[in-house]
Symmetry: none
Subunit: 413 residues, 2 copies
């Protein structure tokens, strides 16, 4: 089966939004063995959107659209699809009740234009939206399939996995299956150099590095085409084993694994609790841990001590240590971690102190200089990092390194 | 002048690369007043790429392509353009010398297939690549303009600013200038209903809502086409004033403003320091504040108290209050804020407590129920929220609401 993806929205044509939805859907369709031959972006314009439908269906059997399902007059993706297929639009009482219930639940008044979100082309299969108000739908007519999904990526992804993934599986003729190895603590070029010979064998499976949105992390994906998942795994596994031999120390998990999730899992397995004391990362490290469902089993307490005074008062960092070595020093990092462990009564504690910039750097202590402190079983250690990038990226990299330091400590016990 | 952007590359259709080039070029063209009506992505396939050229030029006068200029047999963007325009391909000696010099500079051997990068459609204006090896080109034929740029974003952007920006300025009939209003505390549909009449006047300037990547926030953009920026401002400002009359309470800033940046600025102006006590947001609220350069002037200390025990020990929340009302209650939110202010000796304190899910909800206290506590000048208040979405989005929304509660409190003094 051949497919095309149409993203609808003038904000995309003005360059104000990047079309990440097309990439997500393309990966999903590729994994089902459905070929995607074109992505199109058109604005919120009836004539141009109708043309886009006609052109796409002249080339393929499946079109997935994203965007234009909202409550405003601009939102015409359903209307244009109905016009293309020659269908009427009708109100779906069930969707209207869902939308009303949604507004009741969040304690807000439902406005009249939200009704529009409950009107669909006749005969369409309606798809609940678990993450927002605009339902999607599937239209099957004239031997073609048109799937309409919302534009916000969170809503689109939730709807895809709840409704579309299984629906499309029936059209899959073979699959593209992947294993994704997540690494931390090694740069992309250093990683590639270690496995250049394996990467060069671009047959089946292929091995390729992928961009990761997470600073400090790298990804390798091994993908095989095969009749089914078992056959694909048989092709992939020997190559994965080779990669583990070369890169095993850096690989923290596979596929949907996150570094914070891996750390929470290790803590759970070992029955340990974690305390966090943050300066440079300013709450982001605790934020990453708390993003993991069930984190409360291993994380009770964190503290963000941005000033020297707070480091002393909340964590017991000695004024002498601060005076002698400065707040950005291995000594302060260690005292912060020790203080956090003591205050929270935790088994293991991690701390961060550094200079995120853009101001505050000196020749001795440049922007990016960061120390991670780790306290475990009464023993303190500190790691020095020289991070690069802007303020946000330096802080994100510090979070990755801190999580990795916990991971390494716990992997060894 | 109307334009379309064609991105060429099978990696885009597999979803392995996100098409950020189209967004960059669209913003640049919009700023020149050149309309972009469509983005297309096609694979490295001669037939499909030739069709894409034909279809695009049937609709517009300018096509910009990205990708497919490299040395491999896959790279056929120039060849397909030559075929579409009916032009021959010929070697450009100057480009060949440049490519050879590039390889000499980086100390690598030039391979035979790199010669391909020096072959262009006859009559094309060749564009040096300052950031890589593949030159681009401009073809002007049959009253149409086709600009071929490389795929790697760094090379594409460098080539655009060196060669294309000035070239396209001659076709600019004016500029598109915008003011972007950032709002918080009002949903998109409620916001639109308040200004539906203004939005409906889709002339010059236009007013349109935009998707924001920040849960809990909404955006309205006012864009005008005019000869220059002053003329555009004269068109935009009266409309902006109207919008401020209707939505002023919700607008926290314009253009590059962020909610956290606005809060830090307000604190600085008033000479106040902030303390933060987080449960549901688990460090993310402090993280948002610390992301603002210079946040250390107003933020000294935050605490993440995930367990009841930590709430009592670090913030002095009474065990009785926790027992009687539960951790997710206005009473606990208020005691957390008061405790944080006292501990840190801060002028204003904010707290969050709630149920982020996916587990932990009950009929009385469902997932999403959140209380924000605010302590200021010895007075406590708590706000109840019923948030929706997954764990991450509930927490991000709680951060937005907490920041907005500080903003509102400080705006009134």
């Amino acid at each position: 089966m051949n497919a095309e993806i149409i993203a609808v929205g003038t904000e995309l044509l003005l360059g104000d939004t990047i079309n990440t939805n097309a990439a997500f859907l393309s990966q999903e369709l590729a994994s089902l063995g459905i070929n995607v031959y074109r992505h199109t972006v058109v604005g919120d314009n009836m004539t141009r959107l109708k043309s886009a439908y006609s052109e796409a269906f002249a080339r393929c059997d499946l079109v997935i659209t994203t965007g234009g399902l909202g409550p405003t007059a601009d939102d015409i993706t359903k209307e244009a699809a109905a016009a293309y297929f020659g269908l009427d639009m009708e109100l779906d009482d069930n969707s209207l009740a869902n939308i009303a219930a949604f507004f009741a639940r969040i304690g807000q008044k439902m406005t009249e234009n939200n009704r529009k979100q409950a009107i669909f082309p006749t005969g369409a299969k309606i798809l609940d939206n678990f993450a927002g108000t605009a339902p999607g739908c599937i239209i099957e007519a004239n031997g073609k399939i048109c799937i309409l999904l919302p534009g916000p990526p969170g809503e689109m992804k939730a709807m895809y996995s709840h409704h579309i993934s299984d629906f499309l599986a029936q059209f899959s003729t073979g699959i593209l299956f992947s294993r994704t190895l997540h690494m931390v603590g090694i740069g992309e070029s250093a990683m590639e150099q270690r496995v250049a010979d394996i990467l060069a064998e671009q047959s089946n499976p292929t091995v390729a590095p992928y961009a990761t949105g997470r600073p400090g992390e790298t990804i390798l994906r091994i993908s095989a085409k095969a009749a089914d998942q078992a056959a694909a795994r048989a092709l992939i596994d020997p190559v994965a084993n080779l990669l583990y031999q070369r890169l095993g120390d850096y690989i923290y998990g596979e596929d949907d694994a996150t570094l914070a999730g891996t750390v929470v899992e290790l803590l759970k397995q070992r029955g340990l609790t974690l305390a966090i004391a943050e300066s440079i990362t300013g709450g982001q490290l605790a934020g990453a841990i708390v993003d993991v469902p069930g984190a409360s089993a291993v994380f009770n307490e964190g503290v963000v001590t941005y000033s020297n005074e707070a480091k002393t008062r909340s964590l017991g960092v000695l004024p002498d240590t601060l005076r002698k070595y400065g707040a950005v020093s291995p000594q302060v990092a260690e005292e912060m971690a020790a203080g956090a462990a003591k205050t929270a009564g935790a088994n293991i504690a991690i701390s961060t102190t550094g200079i995120a910039g853009p101001d505050g750097g000196t020749a001795q202590k440049p922007v990016g200089l960061t120390y991670i402190g780790l306290w475990f079983n009464g023993r303190c250690q500190a790691k020095e990092l020289r991070l690069f990038g802007n303020r946000q990226r330096i802080r994100q990299r510090a979070v990755s390194h801190a999580l990795d330091m916990i991971r390494k400590e716990l992997s060894n016990i």
